[in-house]
């Protein structure tokens, strides 16, 4: 992690607003609080405008000459395309219910991180050019001129929003603040102003099907490495298939789980579960990422990257799609896919081949979340589990923002956890379920150079973990998102040392009793089990 001030320094948060009014307080690009600019080659890869070398901390952003016209025309188009945007612009009464709900505001004290004011950064420009009151009264009506300083302010603060939507839960009008962030990022894209941590993965994903740029033979090599480890641990040999036509199910998960620890242990859990079930499924080396950084970029890019999953399902002739522990993939699937690339009527309504359960709620997208799939298996008593193999873990659960707030997936992961672990403790009300606190690194903001802001934004989440650590001795933070698995370990190390991060299906893999397995002496990470846990008795 890039250098970050020590926790006690970072905790000196001043929530008092500055002396100057918000319109007269210029943005300061301070290292650790903004991300690197998108590289030209990553914009060129997907035909985006204004590819160039530039840096946010420089004076000249090398904007196109008619940048203002481009932005205002872009806003006009979007106001007519999305009725929701028009409503969000007009309806806010600035009641402030959202103000203290943002993890970045809590952790930084910067008033422009209050969702109401963050949205006002756009709304003020909207008023000036699109409302009569704003045109006539200007600043008195909360309107302001669009200048290059406004563009810089947008870039700074809309790439300081993780699109987690915690604020939206508290908005009496139901304004979806993430959609405001999405629109402003789209406008910035028109000028070629994105961050490289989003543009890079998008370019990779467009080329190889995943954010990391893993090619087909590499994808296979990585999965097979996990297969070898499973055989060593359990004595069971697994033979996964890739790009197999005619399989019943296509399985899609984030590429982070294929490449990076601790996600790879979650991947091992998937492989073990599917093998034990004898599931007729295939991996795809093309639809090789559930994640969709295109969604952090623009609606159009989200659509382009989402399409591959369905194109691949069609090409392989599967019946339905099973989706792994990914975060924002589920927002795209559950709330946008149907009108972006759907309905997927060439697929069948998903039916679990093991339990016969028909997942009617996925009747249009044809895609089922693995937590639902596994919870259903346990509910029907189809798995042999020995929860004692997780007895060395005292577990709490981080509701990953998107599965929680975008699809209401609260009970299924907890149901699975209670069946595979003997020690599970929820964090306090107000920090979990629909009010869950973000990891501080979602929305494409998990870059190293953004570390200070990530530690600030992750502070409320970490603080709730600290509470259950002190009260119950929690040492494991379970989650169902690959950004979480990448972002929470350094967050825990910083704020709550001694807490490890695990995917749900890593814990399932530990507890799962497989036919023909040798007695387990260690968990999937190779840590020895607590005494007497590995004997396989149910």
């Amino acid at each position: 992690m890039a250098s970050v001030p020590k926790p006690d320094q970072l905790l000196k948060i001043d929530h008092r607003p500055p002396q100057t009014g918000w319109m007269d307080t210029p943005v300061v690009f301070k290292k650790g609080t903004y991300s690197h600019a998108a590289k030209a080659k990553n914009l060129e890869a997907v035909d985006l405008p204004n590819p160039r070398d530039w840096s946010p901390d420089q004076q000249d952003w090398k904007l196109p000459e008619n940048w203002k016209e481009i932005v205002l025309e872009g806003l006009r188009e979007r106001l007519s395309r999305y009725r929701s945007l028009q409503i969000f612009m007009d309806i806010c009464v600035r009641c402030g219910a959202c103000a203290d709900k943002c993890h970045f505001f809590i952790g930084s004290g910067d008033p422009k991180n209050m969702p109401v004011l963050r949205a006002e950064l756009l709304r003020s420009v909207y008023r000036k050019d699109f409302t009569t009151a704003g045109k006539i009264l200007g600043k008195f009506a909360g309107a302001r001129e669009l200048t290059t300083d406004v563009i810089k302010e947008w870039f700074y603060y809309f790439f300081q929003c993780t699109e987690c939507r915690r604020c939206s839960v508290f908005c009496p009008y139901g304004i979806d603040t993430a959609e405001i962030t999405i629109i402003v990022r789209e406008l910035l894209n028109l000028l070629g102003c994105n961050i490289d941590w989003i543009a890079g993965p998008v370019a990779n994903c467009y080329r190889t099907g995943n954010h990391l740029g893993i090619q087909p033979h590499t994808f296979k090599d990585m999965v097979e490495f996990c297969v070898e480890d499973i055989e060593k641990l359990t004595g069971v040999k697994i033979e996964p298939t890739f790009n197999r036509k005619g399989a019943e199910i296509l399985f899609v998960t984030p590429s982070g789980d294929v490449f990076a620890d601790p996600g790879t242990y979650t991947l091992m859990g998937y492989l073990m579960l599917f093998h034990e079930l004898g599931l007729d499924y295939t991996w795809s080396t093309y639809a090789s990422d559930g994640g969709n950084f295109g969604f952090f970029h623009s609606m159009e890019m989200a659509k382009r990257l989402n399409y591959k999953i369905y194109a691949e399902a069609k090409r392989l002739g599967v019946k339905w799609i099973l989706g792994g522990e990914c975060g924002h993939m589920w927002r795209v699937i559950h709330q946008y896919m149907d009108t972006m690339n759907g309905p997927a009527d060439f697929l069948e309504v998903p039916v679990s081949p093991i339990t016969g359960t028909r997942f009617d709620h996925a009747g249009s997208t044809k895609m089922v979340h693995i937590a639902e799939f596994t919870a259903d298996l346990i509910r029907h008593n189809k798995l042999k589990l020995d929860a004692r193999r997780n007895d060395h873990f005292k577990v709490t659960f981080h509701d990953s923002c998107n599965p929680a707030r975008s699809m209401g997936l609260f009970e299924e992961p907890r149901y699975v956890l209670r069946n595979v672990c003997n020690h599970f403790y929820d964090m306090p009300e107000g920090t979990i379920r629909e009010q869950t606190f973000c990891c501080g690194s979602g929305g494409g903001l998990n870059s190293d150079e953004f570390s200070e802001m990530r530690m600030r934004g992750g502070f409320p989440r970490a603080n709730a973990v600290r509470y259950v650590r002190e009260k119950y001795g929690v040492n494991t933070l379970a989650c169902i998102c690959a950004v979480d698995r990448a972002a929470l370990p350094p967050l825990m190390q910083y704020w709550v040392p001694g807490v490890e991060v695990a995917g749900l299906h890593e814990l399932v893999g530990n507890a799962l009793i497989m036919s023909g397995e040798v007695p387990r002496t260690s968990d999937l990470r190779g840590n020895p089990l607590a005494e007497g846990d590995g004997d396989g008795d149910v």
């Binding site: 690197h36 590289k39 070398d53 840096s55 941590w197 890079g200 993965p201 990779n204 994903c205 995943n210 954010h211 990391l212 740029g213 893993i214 090619q215 033979h217 590499t218 090599d221 990585m222 490495f225 480890d229 984030p254 590429s255 982070g256 789980d257 490449f259 990076a260 620890d261 996600g263 790879t264 990422d289 994640g291 950084f293 998990n446 190293d448 150079e449 998102c481 690959a482 950004v483 698995r485 990448a486």
Partner: protein, 105 residues
């Protein structure tokens, strides 16, 4: 972007000190990159890791999984951190001229 001078040749580095064009990598570049990581000397152990990474990258187009790196070199993660204090990605991969992994990592 900054340039790293390697015996008169300018090697482009990104904001985090990773090579912009990994195909420009040579052993001399690796030694110059090691200095940016405050490694005074490249021992045989260092070269073993760097060469392994280089070969994997040539064959697979990306860095290996950290666990695979440990398994194939026989060095555990602790040893890798001893050799490369910034770690396998930001230390070893940087010196081997590999691009930064991106996405949910």
């Amino acid at each position: 972007m900054v340039n790293l001078d390697v015996n008169g040749k300018q090697i482009g580095l990104d904001e985090d000190g990773f090579m912009i064009n990994p195909e420009e990598w040579t052993e001399e570049v690796a030694m110059a990159l090691a200095k940016t990581e405050e490694l005074e000397e490249m021992s045989e152990d260092h070269w073993k890791v760097v060469n392994y990474l280089r070969n994997y990258y040539t064959e697979f187009g990306i860095a290996p999984m950290v666990r695979k790196l440990c398994k194939d070199t026989g060095y555990d993660l602790k040893k890798i951190y001893e050799l490369f204090p910034s770690g396998p990605a930001k230390g070893a991969c940087k010196i081997a001229g590999l691009p930064k992994p991106t996405g949910c990592v």
